[in-house]
C-alpha cells in the first residue's frame, strides 16, 4: 500500500519536475533517484509485512502479501536498472522527458495494484493504469509515422480488449453476485454456472491480449517494432510481467479450483503462442522485430506457470519475470547503441567492441535458455511446475521443441557478431559507465542462473 501511494506521489513530482528542470540530463538523473527511492519504499514495505500474514486494505480491495511485495520490489529494481541503462536514450525520443518518466512511474503504480488486487474493480483499474501510459509511450516519437501507427493500433486494439474484459467481469458478476476475487475460489467445477464459464473465457481473451498470447498477439510485432526502442524495452519486459502477475493471481489463485474447465482452452492458447512466436521469429530480418516475436514466444513459456496451478509455478513466474526482464533490457541497450537494427548491423561487432559482443552473447544465451544463465532456471521452474501438474506433458515436450527452435534465431545474432566480417556503425561511443553497467547486468543474469533461490528469498 505504501508503494502505491509513493508511486503516485513520485509520479506527480516527476510531472512537475518537467516545469522546474529544463536540462534533460538532470531530469533523467532525478528520475533515477526517484525510482531508487521507490525501491527503498518497496523494501521498507517488505520489512514491515510479516510473512504468511496477508494484509487486506479498504474493505478487501487490496490484499497485500509477501509474494506481491517481493514481486513489486524486484520489478522496481528492474525499472531502476532500465533507467540507468536506457535513461540516456529516452532523452533522444522527444521533448517531454519528465512526462515519459512520470508515465513510467504510473505504470509501476498499476503494477503494484495488479500484484495485490483482491477485487475485479481493482483488476480493471490496474490494467487500465498499466495500458494507457503504454499507448502514449508507444506514440511518443511524434515525427515518426511508424510510432504513431503503433500508438493508434495499440490504443484501438487495447480499448477493444478492455471492453471484452469488462464483459467478462460482468458475466462473472451475474453468475456469482460478487466482484471479490476471494468468492471465486469457492466456485465448484461440477456445478459451474455457464454464465461464469463464458465470463472466464472472455477474461482469458482480454488478459491474453495484454500478455500478447496468440491468437490475440497481432498487435505485438507492429507496436513493439514501431515504438521508440527505449520504450519497447520497458513495454516488453516490466509492463508485460505486470499483466502476467494479474493473470496468474486470478487464474492460479481464484479459478484454481475449477482449473479443469479452463485448462484446455489455455493450453491451446499456449501451444499457439509458442508456435507462432518461435516460428515467425525465424523469418525476421530486423533484430528489433525478432525480439518482438521472441517476446511472444517467451510469453508462451510464462503461460505454463498459469496452467500449472501450484506453488512452484508462483516461484517460476517470479524467476521468469526477472530473468527475462533483465536479459531483454540488456539486449535492447546494446541494440540502441547500433545504427542498423538488422542482423547485418551486428556483423563484426566482436572485433570492434569485444565487451559489447560478449555481454550480448550472455543475454541471448539467457533468452534461449542455455544452462548457467537466468533463462535456463526460469524455463526449468515453469516447465517443472507444468510437469508436476500431471496432465500437461504433451505441452511441455512441445515447449522444449520450440525452445530448440528459438536457439536458431538467437544464435543468428551471435554468428553475425563473431563470424561475419563487417564494420558496425555505432550511434554513440560506448562509455566506461555503460560498460560497467552492462557487465553488472550480465553478472545479474548469471546470478539468477546459478542461485535462483536468492531471488525467492523475500516471499
Amino acid at each position: 500500500m505504501k508503494a502505491i501511494i509513493a508511486a503516485t506521489i513520485l509520479g506527480i513530482v516527476m510531472m512537475f519536475a518537467g516545469i522546474m528542470v529544463k536540462n534533460k540530463s538532470s531530469v533523467v538523473a532525478l528520475a533515477t533517484v526517484l525510482l531508487f527511492l521507490l525501491l527503498g519504499v518497496n523494501i521498507w514495505d517488505i520489512i514491515n509485512t510479516p510473512a504468511n500474514q496477508p494484509q487486506a486494505y479498504f474493505n478487501n480491495m487490496l490484499r497485500v502479501d509477501r509474494f506481491s511485495l517481493w514481486f513489486n520490489a524486484l520489478m522496481t529494481g528492474c525499472t531502476c536498472l532500465y533507467a540507468l541503462l536506457i535513461g540516456k536514450e529516452i532523452k533522444k525520443v522527444g521533448a517531454h522527458v519528465a512526462e515519459y518518466f512520470a508515465l513510467i512511474i504510473f505504470i509501476l503504480c498499476g503494477l503494484y495494484i495488479l500484484s495485490s488486487y483482491s477485487n475485479m474493480l481493482m483488476l480493471f483499474i490496474g490494467i487500465e493504469i498499466l495500458s494507457i501510459p503504454q499507448y502514449i509511450l508507444a506514440g511518443s516519437d511524434k515525427k515518426n509515422l511508424k510510432s504513431s501507427e503503433a500508438s493508434l493500433k495499440y490504443f484501438l486494439m487495447g480499448a477493444f480488449s478492455t471492453g471484452i474484459l469488462l464483459m467478462g467481469i460482468t458475466l462473472l458478476y451475474g453468475a456469482t453476485g460478487s466482484f471479490s476475487v476471494m468468492s471465486f475460489s469457492f466456485l465448484q467445477a461440477d456445478t459451474l454456472n455457464p454464465l461464469a464459464l463464458s465470463g472466464i473465457i472472455f477474461i482469458i481473451i482480454a488478459l491474453g491480449f495484454k500478455v500478447s498470447a496468440a491468437p490475440m498477439h497481432m498487435w505485438t510485432p507492429d507496436v513493439y517494432d514501431g515504438s521508440p526502442t527505449a520504450f519497447t524495452a520497458f513495454m516488453a519486459t516490466i509492463a508485460k510481467a505486470a499483466a502476467f502477475i494479474a493473470f496468474l493471481k486470478l487464474f492460479s489463485g481464484s479459478f484454481g479450483s475449477i482449473s479443469s474447465r479452463w485448462t484446455i482452452v489455455l493450453s491451446v492458447v499456449t501451444a499457439a503462442t509458442l508456435l507462432i512466436g518461435n516460428v515467425t521469429a525465424v523469418f525476421q530480418q530486423s533484430v528489433k522485430r525478432m525480439l518482438a516475436y521472441s517476446s511472444i514466444a517467451q510469453a508462451g513459456f510464462m503461460l505454463f506457470a498459469i496452467l500449472a496451478v501450484n506453488a512452484v509455478a508462483w516461484q517460476g513466474i517470479i524467476i521468469y519475470a526477472i530473468a527475462y526482464s533483465v536479459a531483454t533490457i540488456g539486449i535492447f541497450t546494446v541494440l540502441m547503441k547500433l545504427k542498423d537494427y538488422t542482423y547485418d548491423g551486428f556483423n563484426g561487432l566482436a572485433k570492434k567492441e569485444p565487451l559489447l559482443a560478449f555481454v550480448t552473447t550472455i543475454f541471448l544465451f539467457s533468452l534461449a535458455g542455455i544452462p548457467l544463465t537466468g533463462g535456463f532456471m526460469a524455463k526449468y521452474y515453469v516447465l517443472y511446475a507444468a510437469v508436476a501438474q500431471g496432465h500437461l506433458l504433451w505441452l511441455v515436450i512441445f515447449g522444449l521443441l520450440m525452445a530448440a527452435i528459438s536457439v536458431y534465431y538467437y544464435f543468428r545474432v551471435i554468428i553475425a557478431m563473431y563470424f561475419k566480417q563487417g564494420d558496425p556503425e555505432l550511434n554513440s561511443p560506448v562509455s566506461s559507465g555503460d560498460k560497467f553497467l552492462l557487465v553488472l547486468t550480465c553478472l545479474l543474469v548469471l546470478l539468477i542462473g546459478v542461485v535462483p533461490q536468492l531471488f525467492l528469498n523475500g516471499i
Binding site: T8, M61, I125
Partner: protein, 172 residues
C-alpha cells in the same frame, strides 16, 4: 401488463433495434445517431431500475459529451459519404461464420444458466445519496486510485497534443 412492463419492452426493443442500426447502417452519421438513441434507451432502463443518477450521468456523459464529439470528428473528417473500404467477400464470409459460431456457443451455454440473484424488491441503491455513501466507503480505493488513470491520460493529451517547437537535441 402494467405500465412498467410496457415501458420495459418498449425500451428493450428500442435498445436492441438501435444497436443493430449502429452496425448495419452504412452512413457513419446514422450510426452515431443510432448509438445516441441506444444510450437513451439504456438510460430509460436505469430509470426503471430506480437509478436516477446513473441514468442522468449516462445521458450527460455518453449521449451528451462523447457522442457529440464523435459526431464532430466524423463531420470534420467528412466521412458522411459512403467511403468505408470494402472488405473482400471471403473475409466477410469468414467473419460471419466465426461470429455466428461464437453467438451460437454462448447462446447454447447461457440457455441453461441460472439467473438467480434478481432482486424482486424495489431498491434504493441507485439513488444519489446511497451511491455516494457506497462510493466513499466501500469503494473509496478504486474511486481515488482512478485519479492516477486520469492523470496519466491527461499527461498523454499534453504529450501528444503539444507542438514541439524546439528541435530534438542529440546526446549531451
Amino acid at each position: 401488463m402494467g405500465i412498467y412492463e410496457v415501458l420495459f419492452w418498449f425500451l428493450t426493443i428500442m435498445a436492441i433495434g438501435c444497436a443493430l442500426g449502429v452496425i448495419l447502417s452504412r452512413n457513419p452519421i446514422n450510426s452515431v445517431l443510432f448509438l445516441i438513441a441506444t444510450f437513451f434507451a439504456i438510460s430509460g432502463h436505469y430509470l426503471l431500475l430506480n437509478a436516477q443518477f446513473l441514468s442522468i450521468v449516462n445521458i450527460i456523459v455518453y449521449a451528451g459529451a462523447i457522442m457529440v464529439l464523435f459526431l464532430f470528428v466524423i463531420m470534420l473528417m467528412n466521412l458522411n459519404a459512403d467511403v468505408e473500404p470494402q472488405k473482400s467477400k471471403l473475409l466477410q464470409f469468414a467473419g460471419m461464420i466465426a461470429g455466428g459460431i461464437l453467438f451460437l456457443v454462448i447462446l447454447a451455454a447461457l440457455r441453461t444458466a441460472s439467473m438467480s440473484t434478481i432482486d424482486k424488491e424495489a431498491t434504493d441503491i441507485g439513488l444519489i445519496t446511497n451511491l455516494g455513501k457506497v462510493l466513499f466507503t466501500q469503494y473509496v480505493l478504486p474511486f481515488e486510485i482512478s485519479s492516477v488513470l486520469f492523470l496519466s491520460a491527461m499527461i498523454g493529451a499534453v504529450v501528444i497534443g503539444k507542438k514541439e517547437d524546439h528541435v530534438i537535441e542529440g546526446a549531451e
